[in-house]
Every structure is written in structure tokens, then in C-alpha cells.
Amino acid sequence: MSSPLLKIENLHAFYTVPLGGLRYGYRKVWALKGVNLDVFPGTTLGVVGGSGSGKTSLIRAILGFLRPAKGRILFRGMDISKLDRRRRMEIVKEIGYVPQEPSQSINPKMTIKDSIAEPLRPLGLSKEDIEKRIGVVMEMLDLDRSVGRMLARELSGGMLQRVAIARAIILKPRLLLLDEPTSFLDISTQAQILNILRDLKEELGLTYVLVSHDIDVVSYISDRIAVMVSGKVVEEGVAEKILREPLHPYTSILLNPEGVAREISIANSETDLCPIRSWCPLRMKKCSTEPPPAVKIDNEERTVLCWHYTT
């Protein structure tokens, strides 16, 4: 097997939040508590999980917006969290990003064409080259030329998302990070975007990390799935297998949420103990005293963070 394009090892990261007023000092909120992931070239890793589980934080850490407190982020074998600024800029060009809200990447005061071209600016390309690249990506995303002269507010949600994707691929990245690319869209526009993403991947040989809270969206497009709870990946493996036979109890709930009539709590505490231990049907004594181990199953193909599978 080839080596991973992106490898994440024991990644920890936190945010500092003020405790009430500033004079009370600060507190650390751990958003990532030891994430391990491999993403192979040409594949799609779907990351699913509830609100606040750390999906966006994971993406932000890969992009360098959130500093790892511990662990490594290897892109093409290089630890990108430790590179100096210049080298980092060069590498990060190969990583495209579509944020959770299009408004985060598209400046409302710029024309759409300028927004799409913005990432090209530091490269010092000729005017014709820039025009050519813009033309190519706009065509790939089925954006009419006339859209280029418009402003963000004149576009529908689906169009804006296509602009955000055009912007993200204009530097010809190898890896594209997509944070909830369809969660603000209607069913029909969601289908358009998902189809475009599938086609682009084929055409450009891209590798995706796609975050979503919608397991059906993830299953449509992913080769592998990682399930996040409270800053950790509790299950990771081949998409098809996870969908057919979820092992971690949290994955089962994500797949069949209609069975859960009561509100289940996810302990977002600072301990390393299992975050679902208060209601888990498979719970054992150990779950309340020791952090769950990462157990390898299915010929090392699947990882489950759960005591139940150690026996």
C-alpha cells in the first residue's frame, strides 16, 4: 500500500476561554484529545460526529489555524505544524479548504471573480495565466461567466458553495478539506454539490477529508469513515463495513438515531475516560476508571476505541 498523504498522530489541541470576567483568568477547552488518522492519496475520508465533537477543530489544526499542543500532522511525510512560515506557505498551497460557511471564505465586497482568483495573487502569475485558470475552474463548477461580475449577496447558497469550491481548487491542491459543504443547502442543491465533488475528485485525482454530521452524505462520498466524539476518533474503518456493522455504540446511534427517544449526554469533560460511559449499553466496570484503548479489528482494518472489544 502507498504511504498516507496525510497522517495525524496523537493530535491534541485546545482553545483558551476566559473564566467569566478577564480577572478570573483562563481555562483550557480541549477540542482534540489524541486523534490518529491516515488519509491515503486519491481516497475520501468522511469525518462524522455530533456538534462540538471537534470536527472543525481537526480541520483548523491541519490548516495551521489551531496549534497542536501535542502530536504531529504529517503531510507528504513532513510535519507541517513544525515548519517555518515560508516553507509552510509553500506546502499549504497543496491543501485546499472549503469552510463551514461560505461567508467565511468569500469577501462580500469583492466580485466573485476576484474572490476565486484571490489565492493566486501571491504567485505573481501573468494576467493571461490568471484569466485562464479562473476560466478553467469556473467551467469545472458550472459557473456561468456572468457570475464572475456579481457580488456574494446576489448568489444563492448553492452557487456560493460552488464559488467556495472553485476558490479552493484554483491552486491545484492535492488535498481538499471540506467542512460541512452541504449542511446549509436544500436537498436538490446538496445533490448538485455532492455530484460535482465526486466528478472533481475523478478529474483532478484529489484526496478529500469531508466533515459532516449527516452520515448519509458521508456514506455517499467516502471510502473510509472516522467517527468523532468529544475530541477523539472512537471508530475508524472502511465506510461500507462501518455502515453495515457499526461496532462502537456511539456509531450505532449515529446510524439509527430514531431509536433514541431520550437525550443522551456526551461527557465533554477533561478526563480521558470514555465520553459515553454514563449511558453506554456495553459499559463495563473498567469504563469508569480507565481510558478506553484503541482496539484493532478486521485484520487491522478497523480501529475501535472501546473496552468491550478487548476481550
Binding site: G50, Y220, V260, A261
Partner: protein
């Protein structure tokens, strides 16, 4: 019970009125959960706001709307006195908007109870408030908490408890599960269903989430361009659609074990004031034929449901 007769709703702007909903005949029987399904901009909230008496002052109407035996819209006149916020309440999408961040949940519930049931002793007000909390499956400890001390799901429950305080007959829930985690969605939906049964409420549940609709509804009403295009007395039509719009919509949904390409519905829903002639879906419909472009199809009975499409009209004649 909610019944509309050729109801039209539009919004006034500089150049006139943009009619969003036209000639709507909706019938929701007492004690039933009806889902209004459709994509954004098709007029779901406009219908929901009309039923709950929350249209803005520049809204214009025609036709009639009856809510719990009271005529609330008659032509261009609206009269929701004694109905709005009492007989019919709305649960909005954003629960934070219904809750006051500066008052505890208990204070807010008590105020609402005192307003609707003047003369109750303070002791009774408090026990009624606690009862409401337990109805929405929140613990007594929530009584003394502020909204920011509750999780997203708990906030929605608290907002539901507040909406129930006046003991309404009709509830309009406008996208009450959007932006919630999968399991919270079902928890909120099943709570509404439970309350609807226990209190014998009429529930109008607005959503664009087909799986939630399948889970909760008795009656399905599919809305496109401010019209009912398909209506069925069971969630069955969400399994076997008749109208081309619903058919494509369901084919555009990702299915768990299928990697078949999702259906592309070309174009976008039309904006009010720019509805096409004939069938409002004809510019996007794969089955379009000449008559569709000329004349708007009537809604007709086709098997176990109502459908607004010329294909079914022609079949029904043969």
C-alpha cells in the same frame, strides 16, 4: 383543526405584491400531525406564520383561513384576537429567540402561566410550571437555570414548554429540528409527537428533512412554489412518490448503501412574483409536455393521494 380555502398570501413591496402562496386549500384535521415539506423559499414559513397569526404588517391575503373553528383570515382582513399565542402557537427554528436570556426558565414559564390563567395562586403557578417541565422531559432543576446554562436540545425543550403554557389547540413547529445532532432531532420530534397525542393537539410540522417527516407525520403535504403539489394521508408518499418534483427530490437524497449518482434537479425553485406560467414545476420537470407550459394543472385524486400534475390528470380520464 386548520382549514384554508383558496388562501393567497403575499408580501407588499415597492412595485406591488409578490404572491408567495396562491389558492391554497389545506385541510388539517384535529389531532393529526401534518408535515409541510419542501425546499427553502417554497412558502412553508409563510403558511406557518399565517396559521399562527404572525405574518408581518405588510403581508397581503385573499381567501379564507379557519383555525380551531375561528375564521382568522377573511379576504384581506386578519383577526387573530384571542387566537394568536393562545389557541395557536408557533415554535420557531431558533429556540434562543423564544427564550429571554436574562430570566430563568422558571420565571419565564411562570409569567406565561400567569398571563394565560390569571387568578391562579403562586403555588399553583409553580406546580404548573414544574408539570410543563416534566411534560417536555426536563428535570425540576431546570426551573432555576438560565437559557445559557442549557444544551441546545434542552433549550428546544424549554422553548416547547413555554409554547405549551397557554394550553394551545394548534401548534405550528417551523423547522424545530434543523441544525440539531441526528439523535437530538429524533428526541425533539418524538417529544412533539408524544405531546400531540397526550394533549390531542393539531400539529403542523414544517421541515425539509424527509427522514424526520417519515418518522413523525400522519399527513404529508408537499409544497412547491406556494402550492400543494402532492398530499397524502400517510407517510407512504415519501416511499412511493407520485408528483415528479417529489420523485426527483427523493432521488436527490443520498441513500446509505447506494453510490448511484444522485438525481440532479436542474435549475432552482422560482421566486415569488416570477412563477412561470402553467405548471410551476414545468421548467425543471423531466416529463414536461405541451399542456404543462400552458395551463396550471388542478390538484386531483390519484389513488390514495392528491396530486397536481397533468400526467395524473390524463391518466385519471382513461
Amino acid at each position: 383543526m386548520v382549514r384554508s380555502e383558496e388562501l393567497g398570501i403575499g408580501y407588499e413591496h415597492d412595485e406591488g405584491v409578490a404572491w408567495v402562496v396562491e389558492d391554497l386549500d389545506l385541510e388539517v384535521e384535529h389531532g393529526v400531525v401534518t408535515c409541510l415539506i419542501g425546499e427553502s423559499g417554497c412558502g412553508k414559513s409563510t403558511i406557518g406564520n399565517a396559521i399562527s397569526g404572525l405574518l408581518p404588517p405588510y403581508a397581503r391575503t385573499y381567501g379564507r383561513l379557519v383555525v380551531a373553528d375561528r375564521v382568522v383570515i377573511d379576504g384581506d382582513k386578519m383577526n387573530f384576537t384571542g387566537v394568536r399565542g393562545k389557541v395557536v402557537v408557533r415554535i420557531a427554528q431558533d429556540p434562543a429567540s423564544a427564550l429571554n436570556p436574562y430570566l430563568t426558565i422558571g420565571e419565564q414559564l411562570s409569567t406565561a402561566i400567569r398571563t394565560h390563567f390569571p387568578g391562579l395562586s403562586e403555588h399553583d403557578v409553580r406546580s404548573k410550571a414544574l408539570e410543563l417541565l416534566s411534560d417536555v422531559m426536563l428535570g425540576e432543576d431546570v426551573y432555576d437555570r438560565y437559557p445559557h446554562q442549557l444544551s441546545g436540545g434542552m433549550k428546544r425543550r424549554a422553548a416547547i414548554a413555554l409554547a405549551l403554557a397557554p394550553e394551545p389547540e394548534v401548534i405550528v413547529a417551523d423547522e424545530p429540528t434543523s441544525a440539531l445532532d441526528a439523535y437530538l432531532k429524533y428526541a425533539v420530534a418524538s417529544l412533539l409527537k408524544k405531546l400531540q397525542r397526550e394533549w390531542e393537539l393539531t400539529l403542523v410540522f414544517i421541515t425539509h428533512d424527509v427522514s424526520i417527516a417519515r418518522y413523525i407525520c400522519d399527513q404529508v403535504v408537499v409544497v412547491y412554489a406556494g402550492r400543494i403539489v402532492e398530499e397524502g394521508a400517510s407517510p407512504r408518499c415519501l416511499e412511493s412518490p407520485s408528483h415528479p418534483y417529489l420523485e426527483l427530490l427523493l432521488k436527490a437524497l443520498p441513500k446509505r448503501f447506494s453510490k448511484d449518482r444522485l438525481a440532479d434537479i436542474p435549475g432552482m425553485p422560482p421566486r415569488p412574483g416570477m412563477y412561470p406560467t402553467g405548471c410551476k414545476f414545468h421548467p425543471r420537470c423531466p416529463y414536461v409536455f405541451e399542456r404543462c407550459r400552458q395551463e396550471e394543472p388542478p390538484i386531483i385524486k390519484a389513488g390514495d393521494r392528491l396530486v397536481r400534475c397533468w400526467r395524473y390528470y390524463e391518466q385519471s380520464l382513461t
